[in-house]
Subunit: 125 residues, 2 copies
């Protein structure tokens, strides 16, 4: 299989590209992708997001939403109510991820077996 | 913005889908996506992978490669040498991710600013 690795000197100097690094800097963390996936359907209140993602803690959800807001993917909005509630929705940049997420979802459907259940043990509350 | 959140009862019962959960169970961890991104170009020796991903430790790389192998995305091959070396390449399932990764990369190019450098501080060695 040596040919698959091409010229070794070239490979030895190569570095992963900046776009992939930036993408996975944000999404290579537990929960982040799932939060965005839920919000691609529609905006949601904090409590709804927490319910939609089994196993996530309040603290983790709050931290990840802050990161996504800082990255410009999510907007936080206060509903005056009553009751006063905080809602989250994707920005245009966040919504622009939807086609790629759908492609990842199709890939997972074909290549990551579900093991007969949709919610792996480590994601349960 | 209440309409963006649609019917609240419906939203409150929704859960993130199984495919997204399975995808991010694997890729929602630091380094995993970058390892696959490097391997989509061509197979690589362990040392080359480590060099290609600034900041990754030998232990982390080894653990992530084991997870990817278990998930059926990566194959480990021993080159008898000399010198004896271990190489990694994507399986068909792993290679099937390439179009989606390219789409994520394009999205990051447009929506995640590079801040003038391709390698964020937290990824440096």
């Amino acid at each position: 299989m040596a040919k698959d690795r091409g010229d070794h000197n070239e490979q030895a100097c190569k570095q992963v590209d900046g776009e992939m690094t930036r993408f996975f800097e944000l999404f290579g963390k537990r929960w982040t992708g799932l939060i965005v996936a839920v919000l691609t359907e529609q905006g949601a209140y904090f409590a709804d997001l927490r319910r939609a993602i089994p196993g996530i803690s309040e603290r983790m959800l709050s931290d990840r939403l802050t990161e996504l807001t800082t990255a410009g993917l999510v907007v936080r909005e206060v509903d005056a109510g009553p009751p006063l509630r905080v809602a989250y929705r994707l920005t245009d940049a966040g919504n622009a991820l939807e086609p790629a997420l759908k492609e990842l979802s199709r890939w997972a459907e074909n290549h990551l077996p579900s093991g007969g259940e949709d919610c792996p043990e480590q994601f349960r509350g």
